[in-house]
């Protein structure tokens, strides 16, 4: 299974792999917001945590349709399903590869982008922590949407519609954690909720994704 993770990481950094696209998208979203809402620092500081979380979430969404679609098109998915690794494990590895190439760069870049939005100083730690805890759930939930739409022509928009509602809890608790952290309030509840959602997602969703792939591979 590690072989699958390494292969996906290698493919991501080769030509056409899409590595860095999410990060660039995140940067553009964060840069556009001050143009839209005006340069006033107070307003930006108040919405910074929400905008950063929303930007990270959309950046994550951008590359989801590639998770299984490319493997489906070249026949690799058929071969993976018949290979001696459990499909649930393969799904988890693909989610991990997606997180490392999309989620992790967002976590690392978020403090820099926070400057663009006048993020209050105490919030930086909580921003990084909340993204670190929350983005793995985005990748794993994304595999479920990608598995449901694998084999559909132009399934990307449908994928977004399916996955975005599933992102709501992570977004709520992630942004809330940053907001409370910035205001010096108690952060235990959103922190634990965010971690709990991610843990449950990682534990359960790969089974749903694998089941969806098996159904989609049947010649209906």
């Amino acid at each position: 299974m590690i072989a699958l993770l390494l292969r996906d990481l290698r493919l991501a950094v080769r030509a056409g792999g899409g590595f860095g696209l999410g990060l660039a998208f995140f940067l553009i979203v964060v840069t556009l917001v001050p143009f839209g809402v005006g340069p006033e620092g107070g307003v930006l500081a108040r919405i910074a945590s929400g905008v950063l979380w929303l930007g990270a979430l959309l950046a994550c969404l951008l590359s989801l349709d590639r998770i299984f679609a490319l493997d489906y098109e070249d026949g690799t998915l058929d071969l993976l399903v018949t290979a001696p690794i459990p499909l649930e494990g393969a799904v988890s590895m693909k989610a991990a590869a997606h997180w490392i190439t999309t989620g992790l760069p967002l976590v690392l870049a978020a403090p820099v982008f926070g400057v663009l939005l006048h993020l209050p100083a105490p919030a930086y730690l909580w921003l990084v922590l909340s993204l670190l805890l929350g983005t793995p759930a985005l990748s794993v939930l994304g595999t479920f949407g990608a598995a449901l739409t694998v084999g559909l022509k132009r399934g990307g928009l449908l994928l977004s519609l399916l996955v975005l509602p599933l992102y709501v809890p992570t977004l709520i608790f992630g942004a809330e954690l940053v907001r409370r952290g910035a205001a010096g309030m108690e952060v235990r509840v959103p922190l634990l909720m965010l971690a709990g959602i991610t843990a449950a997602t990682i534990a359960l969703v790969p089974f749903a994704s694998a089941a969806a792939i098996r159904v989609n591979l049947r010649q209906a």
Binding site: R7, G75, T76
Partner: protein, 210 residues
């Protein structure tokens, strides 16, 4: 020794039965070639045997973890080299060595080329080399010789014969002669599913409302 045994199998495509009552056995060291016109259900049968879709009826029995499936698509990553592609599948199947497969399918000169720069026939050879690195005894192959030239077909025939000689077995859907004289041929035309009015399978919809 019987490696693969299929009994009274019915398979469906698009919700309609295409083949019914298919029975055969495949022994170690034997090859079976499936023949039949387009649309008869060769691919569907092979995908069902590979576990990619459920059978409508009947049983398939073979020892666990013994089958390697190769479909129409080769499952190659265009941006990886020939060696990296094979290395990945060798790691997935936990087999140590890819060099014999590279030699056997005559890919030595191409080993460090990216898969996207290979010709269609060369890609096919790489796809077949993947079978060799799986180390699995039962090969289930769907049209393995598409886009191969005569020399490569001979190369593939030799690889299959070598596989059979070491106690392997092969089940293939193909239209051309592979140069494997010992291969048996199974014509699928007699197993074509009958329409319901002739006593064929009636779907659950008919059962519910008929």
């Amino acid at each position: 020794m019987t490696m693969l045994s299929v009994d009274n199998l019915s398979v469906t495509r698009g919700g309609l039965p295409v083949l019914e009552g298919v029975s055969f056995t495949l022994d170690a060291g034997r090859a079976l070639v499936l023949r039949g016109p387009n649309g008869i259900g060769k691919t569907t049968l092979l995908r069902t045997l590979a576990g990619l879709q459920p059978a409508l009826a009947g049983t398939v029995s073979m020892p666990a973890e013994t089958m390697a499936y190769a479909g129409h698509a080769d499952g190659l990553k265009a941006m990886l080299s020939v060696r990296e592609n094979l290395r990945f599948w060798a790691d997935v199947y936990a087999t140590p060595d890819i060099d014999p497969a590279i030699e056997q399918m005559n890919l030595r000169a191409l080993a460090d080329r990216a898969a996207h720069s290979l010709s269609a026939g060369q890609k096919r050879r790489l796809g077949l080399a993947r079978l060799l690195v799986t180390g699995r005894p039962i090969w289930v192959l769907d049209e393995p010789t598409v886009s191969l030239d005569a020399a490569s077909v001979a190369l593939f025939g030799a690889a299959v014969r070598a596989h059979l000689a070491t106690g392997g077995a092969a089940l293939m859907a193909t239209h051309i002669d592979l140069g494997i004289p010992e291969a048996e041929v199974l014509d699928l035309a007699p197993f074509k599913a009958r329409p319901p009015e002739q006593g064929g399978f009636r779907g659950s919809f008919d059962e519910a409302f008929g």
